[in-house]
């Protein structure tokens, strides 16, 4: 499927990825072309093994596709060397993982600050922003709690705050509401929706269809190909 937009924030062009595993070759992504605009929150849906996480890793500059190109804001990610890619990832992309999001021995505040570049870590503005993000996400009284002292939902919100700290252009979230109760799941999605509404692009890999109404588009993957790309919101 081809989906190309000139002013896209994220552009995947004929992206394929093949794993060579113990059980033989697995085509995780097959010739996928997609684009996502600034301000768009897209859900990447599909069953396990459909290629959702591989897609996120490819867009997150963490998994070089076997073929095809991935661009963010016009920059071809895999044309850069590993160090440049890591630097780009740090400044332009925020991540929210399903589990094990936070460093267990750092406080919520320190976990958020972990995303800041070394030079910015001592700047008052960065620290204020980290504090504000945590406050905005309802964690004002949990700044100095360790992950083990936070609930699942609080941990996930802290991870979202960390993903937003550097004001990235893109946030990639892998099952951000997995294991969350409905209220916390809603809060997590609301935070991501807020980021998108402010002009960011959010890709959320999820099994769930519960949050379709908060997305602008739902892309369904099956067997590594785009089975459906359905606009559900008003933004796009």
């Amino acid at each position: 499927m081809t989906d190309t937009t000139p002013d896209a924030m994220i552009q995947l062009d004929r992206v394929s990825h093949r794993y060579d595993g113990k059980q033989g070759r697995v085509d995780a992504l097959k010739d996928i072309s997609l684009s996502f605009a600034p301000g768009e929150l897209a859900l990447i849906n599909g069953p396990s093994g459909s290629g959702k996480s591989t897609l996120l890793l490819a867009v997150g500059a963490m998994r070089r596709p076997t073929s095809g190109t991935v661009s963010i804001n016009g920059a071809d990610l895999y044309a850069q060397n590993a160090a440049s890619r890591a630097s780009f990832r740090a400044s332009e992309i925020g991540f929210v993982f399903q589990t094990l999001n936070l460093i267990p021995y750092l406080s919520a505040f320190d976990n958020v600050m972990l995303a800041a570049p070394p030079a910015a870590q001592k700047q008052r503005a960065t620290r204020d922003r980290a504090r504000q993000l945590l406050t905005d996400l309802g964690l004002a009284d949990r700044l100095h709690h360790k992950p083990g002292q936070l609930s699942q939902g609080e941990r996930q919100r802290a991870a979202i705050a960390r993903a937003m700290l550097n004001e990235p252009k893109v946030i990639l979230a892998d099952e951000p509401s997995g294991n969350l109760d409905p209220d916390n799941a809603h809060a997590a999605f609301a935070a991501l929706r807020g980021f998108a509404d402010a002009g960011g692009t959010v890709l959320v890999a999820t099994h769930s269809t519960l949050h379709d109404e908060q997305a602008d588009r739902v892309v369904t993957l099956r067997g590594g190909v785009v089975a459906q790309s359905k606009e559900v919101g008003a933004t796009v």
Partner: protein, 398 residues
């Protein structure tokens, strides 16, 4: 965000067990090194001191071998109060010291004669410094007597009414009294020591000697050996003009002293031969293994850091820095504990005088430097494993 050091300290508090294991390993190894090495140095110092003491005792006791001309009949020799009538050319000394095949050392050439002095029968001994095999430097057992001077037994000096610093006439020569020995109540009080060349000239026997005193080396190597037989066989080849007598008491005392030193140095050798290699190999392996487990436990954390754009240096520094920090602290604790052990248990364990157990600044510094260096080297492989972790490992794969 915390600095690397801050993260290391926080992780140490979060996972104290692995940190404690590294700390205990390094501290124990450092303490053992300090304890045994300080003990070794003390043993060596004590052994050197004992060696010196033995040398002095042997010097005082005399040597344990006496070589006299083969032509001298032993009955005549003892009738003459231990003086050989015959002489041999002094060049025999050069042959003996040049031969590794002869199991003796510290050869002291002498020319002795009984003379009348101040109405007394005195033993005049012309003596040269002890000789050694070239290339085997040894502390001299005897420095001989300076040319033109004499050393007098107390009874001789008293009979002549002379003291140190006086000049006396002896066999037509004017000689300076360099030393008067304290009274010993033995035949030593009736002896006069002169320079060998002076004595040869005064006695009209230039280039001749009639006695060589020496120490045998047979019993050093094999206390059970039949030393006299071996020495006789060797002499028959190298210097057949000599015969040998052996003082078994002196020789046995020397063997016992050597055995005691061997027992003490055995402790040193066990440390350097067994314990030190175990420490140098085992401790880095232990630190490497603990760090490897730590990397495995923190795989997700590494993935998150990499996903956040942290470079290899930042990730590697977390593990190398941790090893460095723990080893530095462990070494400091180990040095303190090791020194405390040395002070409390050292004299008993090493059987040395407490005064010999002194802190060796070089050793303490070496431990404080070497432990962190070894720890960092040991943690290098796990750190490489950590930095080569793919960031995608932090995320669930389909």
């Amino acid at each position: 965000m915390s600095s690397v050091v801050g993260m290391i300290l926080k992780e140490l508090r979060f996972r104290p067990l692995s940190a404690l294991l590294v700390l205990i390993t390094v501290a124990a190894a450092s303490a053992l090194v300090v304890f045994y090495h300080t003990g070794s140095l003390a043993l060596r110092a004590q052994a050197d001191e004992a060696e010196d003491a033995t040398r002095k005792i042997q010097k005082a006791m005399g040597t344990n071998l006496t070589l006299i001309p083969a032509a001298t009949d032993l009955a005549d020799y003892y009738d003459a109060g231990g003086v050989a009538i015959d002489t041999v050319d002094e060049s025999v000394i050069d042959r003996l010291v040049a031969q590794d095949a002869v199991s003796m050392n510290h050869l002291i050439p002498m020319l002795e004669a009984r003379i009348e002095l101040a109405g007394r029968n005195v033993l005049l001994t012309g003596i040269a410094p002890s000789q050694h095999t070239p290339g085997r430097p040894k502390k001299k057992m005897n420095d001989g007597v300076e040319p033109g001077s004499l050393e007098l037994g107390s009874a001789v000096a008293e009979a002549m009414g002379v003291a140190t610093g006086d000049t006396i006439e002896l066999l037509g020569e004017s000689l300076y009294v360099a030393l008067v020995y304290v009274p010993k109540g033995t035949a030593e009080d009736l002896r006069v020591y002169a320079n060998l060349a002076d004595a040869q000239r005064m006695l009209g026997k230039e280039g001749q000697i009639n006695k060589i005193e020496a120490l045998d080396c047979v019993s050093c190597a094999d206390p059970e050996a039949e030393a006299l037989g071996i020495l006789r066989d060797e002499l028959a080849v190298v210097a057949p003009e000599l015969q040998v007598q052996r003082d078994a008491d002196v020789a046995n005392a020397r063997v016992l002293q050597r055995a005691l030193l061997a027992k003490q140095t055995g402790i040193i050798e066990r440390f350097h031969g067994v314990m030190l290699p175990v420490i140098l190999i085992g401790v880095p392996i232990a630190i490497g293994a603990i760090t490897m487990l730590n990397v495995r436990d923190r795989k997700n954390e590494i993935g998150v850091l990499r996903a956040l754009g942290k470079g290899s240096c930042s990730v590697g520094a977390l593990f190398l820095g941790k090893a460095l920090l723990l080893a530095a602290v462990g070494a400091a604790i180990g040095v303190a504990v090791g020194w405390a052990l040395v002070s409390v248990r050292g004299p008993g364990v090493f059987d040395v005088e407490p005064g010999h157990l002194r802190p060796e600044n070089g050793l303490l510094l070496a431990v404080l430097i070497a432990a962190p260096v070894f720890a960092v080297l040991a943690a290098a492989l796990p750190a490489v494993w950590a930095v080569t972790q793919h960031p995608a490992d932090a995320m669930r794969e389909d």
